[in-house]
């Protein structure tokens, strides 16, 4: 890298991600992005200007030392890059695929001011995949056991990250997962075409090899309560996720053919209804599927509908593409795959046939008014604009709210008005030694923010246990 001047580096243009052809991929569940070959990674890494005050790092919720790993890639030292990256980030092959980089590292990249930012996400994915394919970098010495026991509740991004960090520090970590497979939203929510399940499995495998004990089918709040766990563990990290889906509260929402996105995606992903053959768990494969919402979950659902064979897969969103909270790449990919965007449209009612099967979604048109509390322009209905959108499946992807299962068995733990757990800056709840992070604290947020919480909480738990 030292061989290139800044000017020469500035002349390299951003490398694009090789991807499956849109028409073809919209009918299969294989991964859309194929990953950088080494040559492209080398070229892309050379675009990095190695800023002294690296803004990209400040944009990263887990504070990955981006210039360091990128410079190692540019030098062709992939093992070194992997070691550097994985020291900062427990799940790089996940975040390299699902992070909203444009709002984080790449959004802060200095090269983005006058052009295209360095493709940090693609490079992260490249290094993580390289490490997985080359048998990784486990020359780290086994940490000395501390004799402290930590329970991690929830096997999603926050829990997996925390477990990985805690075991590295020599603690005895047991992770409890409510479902039959660890991974949380990474296995039940995010589809195969965006995050292949074998990648999550290999990350989980890495953790168990490092010494994390994983117990599936344990529902904290039912199988064990927090007070029971406190007797057996020196510290607890709660990362059980947001849980309950929010519905629209419109007439007809209980007709057959209306799904919460959580159910639709769980059937397809975790329960493997995406296999054309031999799946035991059914899912209604609509011909015309309307997905309500504009976030990543909505994009996942609508692109899944397309792949399950829908003639028409539609996003129904009450604002415009600008206001969509989804990752830019997902909206772009969905468009390429032929997803129909019904923008400035708000659902009023689910219309059913005489047997109470969905046959349409009664909607009204919206226009944008003044900005609301979120800073986004508030949509207002256009009088007399009602119409019926023909569809046979409706998927509601408008968010989730706190699951009360765990917190109900621990009344002394402080919650906010929405039922989310309150924590201090270090992530500790109102109960000493009990920490929490991810969606159960934040409400529905992103994988990477949950991972950041897991990392921070692990540090705080380590400090707490050393006191």
């Amino acid at each position: 890298m030292s061989t290139l001047s800044a000017k020469e580096r500035m002349q390299i243009t951003r490398q694009s991600m090789p991807e499956q052809d849109a028409a073809e991929r919209s009918r299969n569940f294989q991964e859309v992005n194929l990953g950088f070959p080494e040559q492209l990674a080398l070229l892309e890494a050379q675009r990095c200007l190695q800023c002294k005050a690296a803004k990209c790092m400040q944009g990263c919720p887990v504070m990955v030392n981006i210039p360091r790993f990128v410079s190692l890639v540019a030098q062709g030292d992939m093992a070194g890059a992997a070691k550097s990256l994985m020291g900062d980030n427990a799940l790089p092959s996940v975040s390299g695929r699902v992070c909203p980089q444009e709002q984080q590292c790449e959004g802060s990249c200095i090269r983005g001011v006058k052009g295209q930012p360095v493709a940090i996400g693609y490079l992260e994915r490249f290094v993580a995949d390289w490490a997985r394919n080359h048998g990784t970098v486990s020359d780290e010495a086994q940490p000395a056991p501390t004799g402290k026991k930590v329970a991690v509740i929830g096997g999603g991004p926050a829990g997996l990250t925390a477990a990985g960090e805690l075991v590295k520090k020599g603690h005895d970590v047991t992770l409890y997962e409510a479902l039959h497979k660890p991974g949380g939203v990474l296995v039940y929510g995010i589809p195969e075409f965006r995050l292949p399940k074998k990648i999550v499995a290999s990350e989980v495998d890495r953790l168990t090899k490092a010494g994390v004990k994983i117990e599936c089918n344990v529902v904290i709040g039912r199988t064990y309560t927090i007070p029971e766990l406190r007797e057996r563990f020196d510290a607890i990290f709660i990362a059980n996720g947001a849980g309950l889906p929010v519905f629209m509260n419109v007439p007809g929402e209980n007709f057959k053919g209306v799904y919460a996105a959580n159910e639709y995606l769980t059937r397809v992903n975790l329960m493997e209804a995406y296999h054309a053959e031999g799946a035991n768990t059914p899912v209604l494969k609509g011909q015309r599927v309307a997905v309500v919402g504009g976030g990543n979950v909505a994009m996942d659902a609508v692109r899944t509908a397309k792949r399950l064979g829908a003639e028409k897969a539609m996003i129904v969103y009450r604002r415009t593409k600008e206001e969509m909270p989804a990752r830019a790449e997902e909206v772009h990919h969905a468009g390429q795959e032929g997803v129909d965007f019904q923008l400035l449209v708000a659902p009023l009612e689910v219309v059913g046939d005489e047997k109470r099967w969905v046959k349409g979604l009664k909607c009204e048109r919206m226009e944008l008014g003044e900005p609301d509390a979120s800073g986004r322009r508030r949509p207002q209905p256009v009088a007399g604009s009602e119409f019926i959108l023909d569809c046979d499946v409706v998927v509601v992807a408008i968010g989730t709210k706190a699951n009360p299962l765990l917190t109900a068995t621990c009344p002394e733990m402080k919650l906010n008005k929405r039922g989310n757990i309150e924590t201090d800056e270090a992530g500790m709840t109102s109960i000493p030694g009990v920490f929490a992070g991810g969606d159960i604290v934040r409400g529905a947020a992103t994988v990477i923010l949950a991972m950041g919480d897991g990392k921070r909480a692990a540090q705080a738990i380590d400090a707490y246990l050393k006191k």
């Binding site: 409510a178 529902v219 039912r222 309950l244 519905f247 209980n254 769980t266 031999g278 059914p282 009360p404």
Partner: protein, 277 residues
Amino acid sequence: MHKILAKKQLSPNVTRLDVLAPRIAEIKQPGQFVIVRAQEGGERIPLTIADADPAKGTIALVIQAVGKSTRELVALEVCDAIRDVSGPLGHPTELIASGRALCIGGGVGTAVVHPIAKALHAKGVQVTSVIGGRAKEWVIFEDDLQKCGDVIVCTDDGSHGRKGFVTDAAKEVLTAGGIDIVYAVGPVPMMRAVANLTRPFGVHTVVSLNPVMVDGTGMCGGCRVEVGGETKFACVDGPEFDGHKVDFDLLADRLQTYREFEQRANACADGQCRIRR
């Protein structure tokens, strides 16, 4: 893995499996259920815990083999294992502390009524059970319920007990008076009929609902039911609700969602379809 320690055929299509699950056996309460997955790739099936033996560490699962997944489950033998058992899930039954209870069970629902009757009896509540089935061989848990109080058996064809529906016998018990609460579990039409029967008597009626369910932890929202005009999730808010407030039409309707898929899966399992799925 959860080893099967005992297996018993209770009726022509109902099987009891006693499965090793020590933690659940230790803490389960009446009204709670588990979600099981027979093997890798299998469906998640919600099943009521019909009984438990904490000393042996077993729970009793009573399975009506109606679909492909439940038929695979009952095909397992003693010493085989069930891959996943998660629970105990759902709220425990609200048991009255004293007085008289009428427990009504229809078909496989009788297995759900059993732990409730057993717990009531242990508290000193006077229990009358009314249970029913198509014919003698379809009546289950009769002996177990005898240990908890009086039992009235009804069969459609009169081959055992009295001829007629459980609601006929229940009506007589209610008319005689003194019943403080009714617990009813069975097919949706039966629970609806019981709720309609008890309403004019003003007797609180608890029913246990069995909607389509995936995760059982509130995450998917598939098990939503309407109670008193509000949407509830049976897995975390129930599975037991006030029978006078449940929208049984909606429950019955939503249970039809996958009927076509189930029929096809059954036909394939029977070798009646030529295209292997």
